[in-house]
């Protein structure tokens, strides 16, 4: 079971990380466009459309990746205090009530939305002579499908947690605040921090 879960995790992660590189091309493209417009005096009319397509694809395709790393923002004022079983129970309930219907509806509606766009070979009307839009709209059902798949995995995780009383493990990924890495970056060791205690204690002595 855990293998299947981790495999789907890997798929979401791989897709998300693949599309994550769009940020790099987006940076380069806009920088080039700025240079081309202001210095070479040669703007490209399609640049605006392509920018927003890159951005839209980037975040949509990273949705499942973020979910697989438990990265979507939660209101965790109380959640953090809950024991794992209660967390899993609430999550399971809300996955079934909010997540599954919402994402299914989005993927389904997106499928038809993109289908209509393919049928008429829709081109962007934001700028004159815009690029084709139908591949971009196709992102919605694909991202929705991936998200749904990942959501099912999360549901299974909730069930496992309900049975075992603790959350099954996830694959490690780069963290925004990785304390160990930051310590390494500025060359601070745990023992150095522990040594500071005497200053803290001494300081309190002075104040009292």
């Amino acid at each position: 079971m855990q293998n299947i879960l981790l495999t789907i995790d890997k798929i979401s992660t791989w897709v998300g990380q693949l599309f994550a590189w769009l940020i790099f091309s987006l940076t380069l493209m806009i920088s080039w466009e700025v240079f081309s417009r202001y210095v070479l005096n040669h703007p490209h009319p399609w640049a605006f459309d392509v920018m927003s397509m890159m951005y839209g694809t980037l975040f949509m395709m990273a949705g499942a990746y973020t979910l697989s790393k438990n990265g979507h923002v939660r209101g965790d004022v109380l959640y953090g205090f809950f024991p794992p079983r209660l967390q899993a129970g609430l999550d399971l309930l809300l996955y079934l009530v909010f997540f599954i219907p919402g994402v299914v509806a989005m993927a389904w509606a997106g499928f038809h939305y993109a289908g209509d766009s393919w049928a008429i070979r829709e081109y962007s009307n934001v700028t004159a002579d815009g690029p084709p839009v139908y591949p971009f709209k196709t992102v919605i059902p694909i991202a929705g499908g991936l998200l749904l798949l990942q959501g099912l995995v999360e549901i299974v995780r909730c069930v496992i947690c309900l049975q075992q009383g603790e959350w099954p493990s996830r694959i490690e990924d780069v963290e925004e605040v990785d304390v160990e890495k930051l310590k390494e970056m500025v060359n601070v060791k745990d023992s150095d921090i522990a040594k500071l205690d005497r200053y803290v204690v001494a300081g309190q002595g002075v104040q009292k």
Binding site: G16, A20, I23, F24, T27, L28, M29, I30, S31, V34, M51, S52, Y55, G56, F59, M60, A62, Y65, T66, G71, H72, V73, R74, G75, V77, L78, Y79, F81, F82, P83, Q87, L90, D91, V97, F98, F99, G102, A105, M106, A109, G110, H112, V126, I140, D173, E176, V177, L182, K183, M185, V186, V188, I193, A194, L196, D197, V200, G203, Q204, Q207
Partner: protein, 659 residues
Amino acid sequence: MKKEIWFGLSIMALVVVSAFVLLPPFAEMKNGHLGLLMLALVVVAIMLGFPTAFTLMGMGMIFAWIAYRSQNPSLAVDQTLDLMVQRTFSVMSNDVLISIPLFVFMGYLIERANLIEKLFKSMHLATARVPGSLAVATIITCAIFATATGIVGAVVTLMGLLALPAMLRAGYSVQLSAGAITAGGCLGILIPPSVMLIVYGATAGVSVVKLYAGAFFPGIMLATLYIVYVVIIAKLKPHLAPPMSAEERIVPLPPVTQEISNTFSDKVLPSLLGALKGKRNAATPTVEILKQLGIALLPLISVALLSGVIFFKITQPLPSEVVEGVVAMGGAIEDEPQEEESSNSSELQEPQAMGDLKSLPGAFEAPQALGGAVEAPAVAASTTAASSAAASAEEAAKPAEVADVGERQPAPTGFWIAMGVVAFAMFVFYAYFSFARLEIFKMLLGSFFPLAVMILAVLGTIVFGLATPTEAAAIGSLGGLLLAAAYRRLNFQVMKESVFLTAKTSAMVCWLFVGSSIFSAAFALLGGQELINTWVLSLDMTPVQFMILAQVVIFLLGWPLEWTEIIVIFMPIFIPLLPHFGIDPLFFGLLVALNLQTAFLSPPVAMAAFYLKGVSPPQVSLNQIFAGMMPFMAIQVFAIVLLYMFPAIGLWLPEVLYK
């Protein structure tokens, strides 16, 4: 453990029950009431801890379906599906949100360039004489680094690793140290370029450019207030923040400058020039002296170049109305920002500056002979010489045009007065410019100026309308890449991590937008907005009362919810009310941004405190950190009041720039 759970669950139950009690019974319920019910339920659902984006999406879908069904049951499903996909697509092609991943990317890259250690050390030395210097340096470092990166957690953690040990060792009180770090680390949320302002702009339909221009001075003001507070505390209660001892202040000099300062005097300019032509410099190679001199003259050269540019701008012979606007600006930015902005040109002009050196020492030789006191006119002379040279060069470049357009405008008296002030400031600067200070200046050159230049360049291009926020953000990301490369931190691993983190953070924010835009569409469909509008208007409040009520509500919401949730869910409710009270949404946004920043420092949910606790010595308790944060939180409330009393703090810059 159990207690908290029951407390939380009972609060949620209370919200649901009171919603049902306050609203009319189910049978008489109109759609608008359903909208309010939805709002109450969503707060509860968010507190349950499910990913907010999907809570909003699911709930929005259900209530949108109910709303449509009350109009036409047969079309309800199709309409709901259409609504969802259209809302999703509108977020995907949103031209404001597109700058979020770019700014986030820039932040991660700059964070990984590992400038913070150097920045803190150089700031520390530069502020050594100020009371409470370590805390002041901490706040400045935090403000700059947090502004450039925008990642509160990383900044607080890093400063907890660097500044906290330094402050504790120097005998600072735990509270003051913790407060300075947490308060400083949160400044990045407010000072542009910040993601929070983009999210507000996208939600409220306010131009991000104006928000950036507006938030700049309140952000600076807040940082200044923090510093003033720390300095006052250090003056009044020296045992909380003891001053540095003399030996700690000594800056080790490299052998070259050490020798020169031994043989000549401690003042950089006279002794370097003396060493250049004198015979006593046998031990040091001329190239080395020239290099030191070049660095020492950088401020002067950049100031001269900048005044030249300003002179050229204001004496531009073209349309007169343009001239006036520029004069106002020129006079205003003359004094303070010049030091920072000038470094912009100094970075670019470096090769040229080296060339200029050959002519400049000549200009200095005469006053050198007479002694240091006569330097002022020389500085002024060289400044004006540079400006007129620049101007005349430009004029010569296009003689044909000049013939048509006519004479240059004479520079206004204000310009010359400002020039005099600047020249005097430069004189004072060089009069006190010792070799130790030269070392500090070099350290700042390697840490402070690159970041300051980047932030100001990104902000400047946005605020002066040279580039859209998106373009500036992209250039900023490119700058981040170059910065990381320049500090030899750019490798595939760092790149990969930054890219993946950017994807996750942007997905988090933008999916939240997808959810909230479906949710707010449902809320509007149900007519909940109208109900709230009529209710608020029936209270017959004055604008001041409304403003205070709104800020208190937002402040209270800041406890259970994150700022993203508050903005995307509750701003659409507040914004339509603003015109009734004649409140500028831009001004409201600035207040909200300040207010939400306070939420970052309000115990017991303040994330900054937990990040700091994670890297502080075991004896430092969470309560001590919270206690340290309280004064800074009070300062923030004071800042909100100040901004409210004097809206010009925030609105002056946007008004000047976009009349």
